[in-house]
Structures are given as structure tokens and as C-alpha cells.
């Protein structure tokens, strides 16, 4: 079903871009299905770009799901390398996959990293009737018998949601990554459904994916993986408070094709700076549980490189890559 959907949307995009009327409008590719973080990034930035008048036409959001963002990455590198009207949503998941060499040999230098304008703190949630009251309860249960605690997440095995669990457990002193049970589903909403249904004992995801379910009381958040409690969700303790010094934010940002000129790149830098400074974006961040994290332009490129190296080291330690 995902496949059809990706194809269908791609068809829509193809038609819209080739159709003629609005061919010059900028496009934002969300490399996943609607409802996830990339989709959110694209849709919000697209909306704000138009509202603050940076873009006159509506910014076309298209979804290009597949291979954890790899399909879109290949597409941009291979076919749109000089398209100056294209931005692509990215996040920790993108760098994670790049670090693990999961984009069919593509490297981090094949696109230009535009910037990040917020971070989505990781959360660990359990069903409302779960016996686990604190993060400590959950961790000791894993330590006692890892085969009794299954985690659900919206990313595939080895993806960012999975990595979050493994890294958190490592900090807490549990290092047998292979013993940790994890099932990857099609996005955060699907993962929550399985957790509320009691099929898995806990779920990891990004705060923004889960806000609705936390407020409705279907799930309880055990910990937020940020350096301080998040505005609007003050009753969720951080992992640090509970004695596990671990942060994992899923930054929200964009990359652009690698072949565009410096002038074109600077135009996007300026546009993104305006979005980051806008009231609309600030409001969006509070409404959706995003934390402040603004890094745009060349600094961001540097940061992404370091981030990739860091994830590579961790993945190697855990055993995901050789």
C-alpha cells in the first residue's frame, strides 16, 4: 500500500510539474508518507514560506516514500541535481541512514545541507495500563529479561527510533543490543496503535508524533530525551532527571540538490532564516512539542558531517555496521 501511495503521489507531482500551469513553483519533497516528521517539516515550511511572502506561489509538497528516504535521496542526486527550486526535508533519520551506508553507497557530500530549524525530542511511551511508571522501571525490566519487553517504533531495524532505544539502554548499562526486541512499523501512529493494543510494551518516537495520544490519555510518556523539560509538556520528566544521561533529538531540517550555485544556496539560506525567525514557526514549534535548534548555512553542513561520523561510531560499537 505504501508503494502505491508513493507512486500515486509521484504521479501527482509528475503531473503537476509537467502539467504546465504552476511549473515554476518551488517544491518540497517529503521522503516519506504523510503524517510523519518529514511530511510535517515540508508542510509547515511550505505554508510559512508562502505566508511570510518569501514564495509567491504555493510551495508544492510531494511525498516520495521508500527506503527510509533513500528513494528521494537517489532521485535528488541523480535527477534533480541542479534544480534550484527544490528543497527536501531531512532529519536525524536521514543522517542515520547515510552514516550506515543505507542509501546505496550515496554519501553525505552529494547534496548541500541547508539547515535545521528545530528539534523534535525523543520520547519513550508506554500504554496507559502499563506497570512501568518510570524509565527506571522499564530499564530494569529489560535488564532482567530483554525477551519480555518489546519496543515498537516508526523506523526500520537500525533506524533512528531503533537506535534511540539501543543508545538509551547503553547509557543505562545494558549493552547487548541484539537481545533488545524491536519491531519497525509504518510510522509513529502505527507503532502507537500496536503499543496501545498491548502487543508491544513500549514505543519510541518523536514527541510531535505522539502529542495527540498523550493528551487523549491512551499512552503515558515515561521520559523525554531532551536536556530540559519541553514547553507545553512540563509533566514529562527528562531521562537525565531519572538518572540516564541521554538526549536524542530528531532535528528538523532541509537539504537542497548538490549542483546548485552558491547564489541559489544563499537565497535558500535567507529564506530559511526568515522562516526560523517568524512568529508562525515559533507557534508551530510550541503546538507540536518542538524544541529550539536553529543552525542554517555552512555551519550546518559542518555539523551534519560531525553528526554522521558520530552515528557511524555508535553504529559500529553496537554492531549495526562493520
Amino acid at each position: 500500500m505504501t508503494k502505491t501511495f508513493a507512486r500515486a503521489l509521484r504521479a501527482g507531482v509528475l503531473m503537476a510539474t509537467l502539467g504546465g500551469t504552476s511549473a515554476m513553483a518551488a517544491e518540497c519533497i517529503a521522503p516519506a508518507n504523510p503524517g510523519g516528521g518529514w511530511d510535517f517539516t515540508c508542510r509547515q515550511i511550505a505554508r510559512i514560506l508562502q505566508e511570510i511572502g518569501v514564495e509567491q506561489n504555493m510551495v508544492q509538497v510531494s511525498n516520495m516514500a521508500g527506503a527510509g528516504g533513500g528513494v528521494a535521496y537517489t532521485h535528488v542526486v541523480g535527477q534533480r541535481a541542479t534544480d534550484a527550486d527544490l528543497i527536501v526535508a531531512a532529519s536525524s533519520a536521514t543522517t542515520t541512514r547515510l552514516a550506515q551506508n543505507a542509501f546505496a553507497g550515496m554519501t553525505v557530500d552529494q547534496v548541500r545541507w541547508l539547515g535545521a530549524i528545530g528539534t523534535d525530542p525523543g520520547v519513550i511511551v508506554v500504554g496507559k495500563d502499563s506497570p512501568f511508571q518510570t524509565l527506571g522501571d522499564l530499564v530494569s525490566a529489560v535488564k532482567a529479561d530483554p525477551s519480555k519487553v518489546a519496543f515498537a517504533g516508526g523506523s526500520a531495524v537500525g533506524g533512528f527510533d531503533h537506535l534511540k532505544v539501543l543508545m538509551m539502554l547503553r547509557r543505562a548499562g545494558f549493552t547487548d543490543a541484539r537481545a533488545v526486541k524491536y519491531i519497525g512499523l509504518d510510522g509513529g501512529a502505527d507503532a502507537i496503535t500496536q503499543t496501545v493494543g498491548g502487543f508491544t510494551q513500549a514505543m519510541t518516537g518523536d514527541l510531535s508524533e505522539i502529542t495527540g495520544f498523550i493528551r487523549s490519555g491512551d499512552v503515558r510518556a515515561l521520559a523525554v530525551l531532551a536536556d530540559a523539560r519541553v514547553d507545553g509538556f512540563e509533566d514529562i520528566p527528562t531521562a537525565k532527571e531519572q538518572g540516564i544521561d541521554f538526549e536524542a533529538g530528531n532535528w528538523r531540517g532541509l537539504y537542497v540538490p548538490g549542483g546548485i550555485s552558491d547564489a541559489e544556496f544563499d537565497r535558500w539560506v535567507e529564506a530559511l532564516n526568515k522562516v526560523a525567525a517568524s512568529d508562525q514557526w515559533k507557534q508551530t514549534m510550541t503546538e507540536n512539542g518542538l524544541d529550539e535548534f536553529i543552525l542554517i548555512g555552512p555551519d550546518f553542513t559542518e555539523w551534519v558531517r560531525n553528526n554522521v561520523t558520530e552515528i557511524q561510531e555508535i553504529s559500529r560499537e553496537i554492531g549495526i555496521i562493520q
Binding site: 509528475l14 503531473m15 510539474t17 509537467l18 502539467g19 531495524v157 541484539r178 524491536y182
Partner: protein
Amino acid sequence: MAADRIFGVVMIVLALGYILSAMNIQTSFMSDPVGPRVFPYMVAGVIILCSLVMLLRPDPNANWPAPMMALKIGAALTVLVGYALLIRPMGFIIPTAIASAAISYMISPRPVPAALAGLGLGTGLFVLFKVVLGLGLVAFPRGWF
């Protein structure tokens, strides 16, 4: 009789190839208990089982086309393959007109109506898809106009 048996044999061979190919699938570091190979094995197993049933208890034979008809089907196949290969470089209208005319002729061997059908479909469908539905189609090879 024979047809079912031939199909059964072909499918067994294909299923064995499938199993062979599945044996080379890389597994990941977090090997789940099932892994990426088991399901393909199961599928191939079902195919082999069904093929054996077809081998041992074949249905009565279907009517297979006489040599002339087989040739005609082959021609239709060639037209469609050619169409698939040519629509990109040649634009929409010309390959569509030729392919429709050819298929039309095979259905009803009268050259004039077939040619008319080809022309009409080539242009008519282009208008329908390009103008009404807004699909991105190229009318003629690039560089003609």
C-alpha cells in the same frame, strides 16, 4: 494435458531458481527469528507443491493457437513491446497511432478503418490525457517543433 505438465515443470524450475536466489539475500545484524529468507522459501514451497499437483493431475488440454495464430499473437506482442520502448523517444502521438492501427488491423483486417482508428486514437487520447486530465505528455519527438 501436456500444457499443465509443461507449466508445472517450468514453475518448478522457476521456484528452484527463486530459492537459490533467496539463499543469497543478506540478513541484517538484528536477525529476527524469521529473517528475510524464510517467507520466500515458503512461497516457493507452495509453488512446487501446486506444480506437482498439476503434473500428476493435469486438467484437459486447452486449445492452443495454430501456428498462424501464434504468429499473430507474437506480432501483437512485438507491437506492444515496441510501443513501450518508443513512447519516450518518439513522443506520444506517433507511436500511439501506429500501435493502435496495428492492433486494430489485427482485430479486424481492414486497412482504412484501422488507419483511421490509429489516427483518431493517437490524437484523441492525447487531447484527453493532456488537456482534460493534465498529464505530462510530449506530443512529438523533442526538436520537431
